[in-house]
């Protein structure tokens, strides 16, 4: 772990938005951070945006909410003087057209909902399992885009409020997740520059997920296998495999450090294909160490 107190760093804002390409373990990182903060005595709320709900199962005892764009928009309309027609707008599918007429409005109402939850002061930390893939930038730029496009009215006000929230470093930060592999590292480098330039949200430390943290292996050709013959070739092949993986990993982490001047937090790879609440707790304990 590269920085002194990762958990304090991660919980230094009211809201943490976790972002990263599909498959890098964004949901795992969300769960680990929430678990670590909750175990440290904080009141934590976890927000899931799209996809199949997965976090409640991983985080027993922690508040998890699912926020959808359609529900948020309906709620927003209901609360902003469209009480009578909010239902009808939703039912006739006009909401799709609104979303297209002013792209980003669906993201904006979701961010607006998060802002509302933050303002409720019920939680010390709100962790958002952000949108997948390349959608993170669109999601985070929705407010500034709408501020340019819409000249007045409730949407403009909402966009301004959301932008204030995103740009306030005490209130919000974005956590980018990657793996110690070439393609995810490239993606992260591109995303981090785009977010800095276009959103103005504070970037927290980078989380490198699934890092092989086991001790380096000796060169197996220097190891005396004694009289063993059976499976020695397998052991040699496995050692060569792990050593190459560790080299690639070190190379990619170096490349990331050189390209993006942010602190890094490394989460260990768990030797399983799917994580359980226990794995999350183990990783959370690593984070708090």
């Amino acid at each position: 772990m590269s920085n002194v107190n990762p958990l304090a760093d991660l919980t230094s804002s009211n809201i943490v938005i976790v972002a990263g390409k599909g498959g890098v373990g964004k949901t795992t990182v969300t769960a680990v951070l929430a678990r670590a903060a909750a175990d440290a005595g904080q009141r934590v709320l976890v927000i899931e945006l799209d996809g199949k709900p997965a976090l409640a199962e991983l985080l027993p005892g922690i508040d998890v909410r699912h926020i959808s764009a359609a529900d948020s928009l309906e709620e927003y309309l209901y609360e902003h003087g469209f009480k009578r027609i909010a239902k009808r707008l939703a039912a006739t599918g006009v909401i799709d057209v609104i979303g297209t007429a002013a792209p980003g409005i669906d993201d904006l109402v979701v961010l607006g909902k998060i802002k509302q939850l933050e303002r409720a002061n019920q939680w010390d930390l709100i962790v958002v399992d952000g949108p997948a893939a390349g959608h993170a930038i669109t999601f985070l730029t929705a407010a500034s885009g709408l501020l340019d496009a819409v000249r007045g009215g409730p949407v403009r006000e909402q966009a301004q409020d959301v932008l204030d929230m995103l740009r306030d470093t005490e209130r919000c930060q974005a956590l980018l997740v990657t793996l110690p592999e070439a393609t995810p590292v490239n993606e992260l480098i591109e995303t981090s520059f785009a977010i800095e330039e276009r959103v103005g949200v504070r970037l927290g430390p980078i989380v490198v997920n699934r890092v092989d943290t086991t001790a380096p292996l000796p060169d197996p050709h220097d190891v005396d296998f004694g009289r063993a013959r059976v499976q020695v070739d397998d052991a040699l092949a496995a050692a060569a495999f792990r050593r190459t993986q560790l080299e690639v990993q070190a190379h990619e982490i170096d490349r990331l450090s050189a390209a993006v001047p942010l602190a890094q937090i490394h989460l260990s790879a768990r030797p399983v294909a799917g994580l359980t609440p226990d794995d999350i707790a183990i990783l959370a304990a690593e984070l708090a160490r």
């Binding site: 390409k21 599909g22 498959g23 890098v24 799209d50 199949k52 309309l77 902003h80 003087g81 469209f82 027609i85 707008l89 599918g93 006009v94 799709d96 057209v97 609104i98 297209t100 007429a101 002013a102 792209p103 980003g104 409005i105 997948a132 390349g134 669109t138 496009a149 819409v150 000249r151 007045g152 009215g153 409730p154 949407v155 403009r156 592999e181 070439a182 393609t183 490239n186 086991t214 292996l217 000796p218 197996p220 220097d222 190891v223 005396d224 499976q231 070739d233 397998d234 052991a235 092949a237 496995a238 050692a239 495999f241 792990r242 690639v248 030797p271 399983v272 294909a273 799917g274 994580l275």
Partner: protein, 378 residues
């Protein structure tokens, strides 16, 4: 009730991936993001070219490393570029391109518009620009359009398409209808009053629902929206026919679906969900590719290796213990991944299943693509 085609009947031997590719003129690679879909599509394309086909591979993202691996120094572009494979196949051809969604959309609009002026009115409209760049489903829609266009292109006899990294397989399957669904929209009907000479756009002021939308998004945004629907008047028939043609192509016997997955639990869950969705629409999964599986490292067991690690520790040989413990750890991961995969593999038992081992480094040159091709096609 889903009628199973012969390939899905229990008891028949699943075909190989090579059989699936040989019998196809369109291959759709689907799966969630981060599972190696783009690379799989490229390797399948390369192997088909090696087998003498004239192949075009369409990727969704810029896939810089893949472009490098294919020797395309300027990267992938919106037009097919031929990849040099003379040393691989004397007769086959490999072409690669990247989907350029806005450019493709404009081509489709221009092909359907009765004249250039109407096409210009549409492509300059702000609501259109939002649709062509931001509407969810647009990328899938244009991927399906590209597929149809390339299928009709004499230069190629096989189109391999990498689908957008959607959570939902139906996004792609229903994509051809995205725009017609929009034109079927109640709002369109609200706006358009049929008259003897065609359509007339109703005044915004007469529609309370439109006034309400105007109050939310602003009147200029609404005006663009109305202008968009107005500009489309009369073009919906062409778009509908086109959507039907693309849908028919997706349902053709020579269109094959390749499901791509990786052995992580979330990716497996998504892959099973994809398979269910395809089945619910009457599509078969013809081949399943599981990427990045940890190798088993021999036929021995986890406990064989950990037993030896313990013995080495007892004898004070820490280095030897570490080497055996590593074998045990990697075998344990391999076993855990295969256990996770079991439900998916029985779900797609009628398809050709191919396992591709995790390679210690990323695919970044033709040699690495060759290694993958050997795993995919044996």
């Amino acid at each position: 009730m889903i009628t199973h085609r012969s390939g899905d009947t229990p008891g028949t031997t699943p075909k190989s991936l090579a059989d699936v590719v040989d019998g196809a003129d369109v291959l759709v690679c689907c799966g969630s993001g981060g599972v190696g879909k783009t690379t799989t599509a490229a390797v399948i394309g390369m192997e088909a070219a090696r087998r003498g086909r004239r192949v075009v591979v369409v990727t969704i993202d810029p896939a810089r490393r893949l472009a490098d691996a294919l020797g395309l120094v300027d990267g992938l572009t919106g037009d097919p570029q031929q990849v040099s494979i003379e040393n691989v196949s004397p007769t086959g051809e490999l072409w690669a391109m990247m989907l350029d969604t806005p450019a493709m959309f404009e081509r489709v609009v221009r092909a359907n518009a009765p004249d250039a002026a109407q096409a210009d009115r549409i492509v300059e409209n702000r609501f259109y620009r939002n649709i062509s760049s931001a509407l969810s489903g647009t990328q899938e829609y244009m991927a399906s359009e590209a597929l149809h266009e390339l299928h009709g292109d004499e230069r190629f006899d096989l189109v391999v398409v990498d689908t957008p990294p959607s959570r939902n397989a139906l996004d792609f399957l229903e994509a051809p209808g995205v725009l017609t669904r929009f034109l079927d929209h109640k709002l369109f009907k609200l706006l358009m009053m049929p008259t003897r000479t065609g359509f007339k756009v109703l005044s915004i002021a007469t529609q309370p629902i439109l006034r309400a939308i105007g109050r939310v998004v602003g009147s200029d945004v609404l005006a663009d929206t109305v202008a968009f629907f107005q500009a489309f008047a009369g073009m919906d028939v062409g778009f509908r026919q086109r959507a039907e043609a693309v849908t028919a192509l997706l349902r053709a016997d020579t269109t094959r679906f390749v499901l791509v997955a990786s052995p992580q639990r979330d990716a497996i869950t998504e892959a099973s969900w994809f398979a269910d969705q395809l089945a619910s629409q009457g599509f078969d999964v013809h081949a399943t590719v599981v990427n990045r599986l940890h190798p088993r490292f021999g036929a021995g067991s986890v406990s064989d290796a950990s037993q030896r690690a313990m013995t080495a520790t007892e004898r004070g040989n820490a280095e030897l213990a570490a080497v055996w413990a590593n074998l045990a750890a990697l075998r344990a991961i391999a076993a855990a991944e295969r256990a996770e995969l079991e439900p998916l593999l029985s779900r797609v038992h009628g398809s050709a299943v191919v396992e591709v081992p995790l390679l210690p480094s990323d695919v970044h040159d033709v040699d690495a693509l060759d290694v993958l091709a050997r795993h995919l096609f044996g």
